[in-house]
Amino acid sequence: MSNQHHTHITSHHRLLDLNLREVWRYRDLIFLFTKRSFVITYKQTILGPAWIFLNPLISSIVYAFVFGGIAGISTDGIPQMLFYLCSNAIWIYFSSGLTKNANVFANNANVFGKVYFPRLTMPIANVLESIVQFGVQMLLVILFLLYYLITGAVAPNWWAWLLIPVVLVHLGLLSLGCGIIISSLTTKYRDLSIVVTFGIQLWMYATPIVYPISQLADGTMKTILMINPVTAPVELFRYAVLGQGTFSWFSYGLSWGITVLVVFAGIMIFNHVEKTFMDTV
């Protein structure tokens, strides 16, 4: 027991101090957090993890009925169910990570207030949970894809499937960044947690989820869509899986730029709040 482990605590904080080594030391905790949220969500439910399937399935059916059936929005020749399932999977991946991270401080104040562990483990675990959820939903997408492959209704770009992990990392970082910015601010301003709930709804309509981007004429709406950092990865994802989509290097590059900016801003605010948020939360 020598002085191998030394902790120095001061009132100062460094701007970009991530301490990833410490986060790595706590990797088991990250996995346990991830596992815990699944266990808790599906314990004492009759259908259990089947809900992961049912949720996107039902909303896709509703979308197909409302947007495809009643509003008559085109899906660029892609079978409607497949189009909406695919869009839903990627959107739920992004939005569930964002929602959970937006409340990470407020929801875990009781734990954070009693014991120290790298706070970043919690947001990371939230993103991991969303990835697992996404994986399960992809099984459903692939099931439908196989059927439509046999009928010849779709032609995926198989090489672009290699980019799906990149899309996941991209959207994961974005939801992490946005989430921790919001949650850092919610420690002081509780209003934001209310804003997030309907903000995410609005964000979905500003993203080509229930419609393909090709349906839009040039104009304000299209500009918003191009600036929206979620648009490019979503389009890339559909380009890979469905063989349909408008992909531009410009908007993809812009999206990465915004993501990096958001992540750095997030970490900075997070570091600022992390040490003393227990006094205000």
Binding site: T7, I9, S11, Y26, Q44, V111, K188
Partner: protein
Amino acid sequence: MNNEKNTREVAIQLSGVKKMYKLGQIGGGTLTADLQSLWARIRGKEDPNTVIGTDQRLAGKTFMALNGIDLIVYKGEALGIIGGNGAGKSTMLKLLSRVTAPTEGEIDIYGRISSMLEVGTGFNPQMTGRENVYMNGAILGMTKAEIDEKMEDIIEFSEVREFIDTPVKRYSSGMYVKLAFSVAAHLDSEIMIMDEVLAVGDMAFQKKCLDKMRDAAKQQGRTVLYVSHNMNTIRQLCDRCIVLDKGKVVFEGDVEKAIDIYMNRQMNDSTFRDYNDFARPQWLSNTKIKLLEAEFLDKNSNVFDETEPIRLRLKWENLQDVKNVGLRFELWNLEDVAQATYIMYDFYSGEKGQITEMIMEMDASMVMDADYKTYITFFNNSEFGGNTDLDCVPGLCFRKAAKVKENYLIWRPKVWGYIQLPTPKIVSQE
């Protein structure tokens, strides 16, 4: 004691540590409210969010929960931290366990630290005991491999083996706490911080926990920081003690001395007390008598010597007609344990509104050297064998201090109790 050889090695060092909290409105609750306040200030109007009746000057004021703490904790020592509520104990532990950061000053910690500000942090009622052990262990800083290795010991120590695969929501509160404590007790850290966690579980388990902690400090050379209001556990566990008051260390050193300093602060040395405005305890539903004054007669101080009787003057008012009133004068030690009671049955009856003054004398020769708190209770015997309290207030405190005599033992209340029974008579001797 083995801390002699370890004294040189520092485990924790605090230098000039301060922690400030803002009084009044803490940073607003909502964004709109903050903007409103800002807008009002810009226009030079009154802040619409100030709580009515609060002192404006207080709003910007601050409160120092810790006001310049300098402290060195050596490796392998068990340090007790005592102090009244609001003295800064919890704030200090929070800083050490890195839950919040200091406003000023620096803290250096050498070694892995594990803090138990609460047992069972992160326990989820839906998950089984085993799952919760993993979760809680990981939160406290163990890896999965470490937990696997210790699982058997943890389950064994917790005494809940049969229920380990049952969701903890079905546990009794005792089982819950036992399991939670077992996890914390098996951490591999060099420094352990505990805040009153031993005030849980049954007596046998508390003792087991204390033994475990002492073992950690004495045998394994770990450093233990222990906060408690229970002086007995402090005595059993710690070899050094600090007393905190108003955010400062007011004493550092010997455990008994520290406890005395902390206790004396609570002992009131007045010989007179006025109860006119004293708020009676909630459970006293039916106050029929109101004690107005109590006083030790003919005394300048509240110290009584060996043979001196306690002469007490009481003055009370009857709020209703009373009959067959009795009086208890209870003696408690400063650790809030009742030790002995004087009692008078059926000594008084009176009419509503009547004010009575009485002087009574109590033989205190059996009450041995120590500090005492007292309670004065008026009561009625009920026909069903119980009794109804008519009034009950904490009375005056006093100290018994015998003049030292040769060939007499110095009384040790912790070991022999507080009352010396009459000297036995020898019936025959051969």
